[in-house]
Symmetry: C2
């Protein structure tokens, strides 16, 4: 068991408040090495960035979801699936009331790729170490029960790894080839977080160094309506 990946929770991150500098809190809470991928949940990024809004009641919450949506795709009961200004399609436009103080809701970061770049630059400034950063969130998906974590922002790592043109083990050109590695890394990180344990970050060590390059979720993962079979 010497090769492969390690996925380790960051256990000692304190409760995050508006104005906190996440890179400082992360640098104090864990030890990072060059090439690590640091996955941070949207919730603490939104808190640090002050993306908290008072919601007096369910009507206020509903209005907030509408305001954060550019288009509603599906409704059923209290569930609203909509497209956010970022182009994400998710429940409640990412407006979230869990792990937030009662009477408040957390909105998605304005630009989660920029959030990831800022955390990455802060960690480099404080530690001298070059890591990749992923901001993750928990999304449902069509046709399959259960939620999984995906990447809503990234920095210093390819969002999608294009294997097009490479050949498989039998020497044939591969057909399905663009792997969304940042979503897979976000999913792997979620496995060590635990929804109720208040672990909001994880470190993944051992990713392919070839993946470490400038990239963004917005440019590489969010699909354009013109190419999207589902909008």
């Amino acid at each position: 068991m010497t090769s492969g990946l390690r996925v380790v929770p960051v256990e000692d991150l304190p409760e995050v408040r508006p104005g906190d500098v996440l890179a400082d809190l992360l640098a104090a809470a864990c030890s990072i090495e060059t090439g690590d991928v640091v996955v941070v949940t949207q919730k603490v990024v939104s808190k640090a960035e002050g993306r908290l809004v008072a919601v007096a009641d369910e009507a206020a919450h509903r209005a907030l979801v509408e305001a954060e949506s550019v288009r509603v795709l599906r409704r059923r009961g209290r569930l609203v699936v909509s497209e956010t200004t970022h182009g994400f399609v998710c429940a409640s436009a990412g407006v979230d009331v869990s792990n937030v103080e009662h009477g408040w809701a957390a909105l998605l970061p304005v630009d989660p790729d920029r959030s990831a770049r800022r955390i990455r630059a802060g960690l480099r400034a404080r530690t001298g170490v070059d890591v990749a950063v992923i901001v993750s969130d928990t999304f449902g998906r069509p046709w399959r029960r259960g939620v999984t974590d995906v990447a809503i922002g990234c920095a210093g790592i390819a969002a999608v790894v294009d294997l097009r043109g490479t050949v498989d083990a039998l020497g044939r050109e591969l057909e399905v080839t663009e792997v969304c590695v940042v979503d897979e890394l976000a999913a792997a990180a979620e496995l060590v977080m635990g929804k109720s344990a208040s672990i909001a970050a994880a470190i993944i060590r051992g990713v392919d160094p070839a993946w470490l390059r400038p990239s963004s979720v917005n440019a590489e993962v969010v699909s354009h309506p013109s190419e999207d079979l589902y909008r």
Copy 2:
């Protein structure tokens, strides 16, 4: 870095042929411990189970995709997104020609949960070790570019972990609560496989022992049309 997960590729699995007993090949290729999750790709499971069909040309391939589909959801050019007999929604009904000999296609296993149970029982019989088994496949998804690996079958592990009713760090009941851990584990495994390196299995060590219980993807992940907003 002592807690958390390790994700390790199984490097020494030989080329799999119809009639091979996967549990034998896996037991010879890697060392497993109680509580490990063994993730095996659909491709080798389909090969071992003889789910290979000759496809003379593109018309034959198209006919095969139709035959494997109960319903076509979307078409664009050569891309067909359809629902399989299992209830999976994926490209080409899971019919796959990569990493298969030229002129042949691999179909999905008839019952991937049963495939996982068989591998699990075989590993226990040969090694005395209780592991969980996930059969994974590579699916696209709406609204996001790139493919990720998901679970199409499982044994000995909860497909979905229900955190409903548990409380978050601030003592409030959680809202989004059913996490599809088998999809997240399949995604984590894909990260060490590499499409062209012909690595078809991985071992994940360190998962929460509370997740290790009888389950199936069919019962817990495949959503019923009645509850599905997207069919």
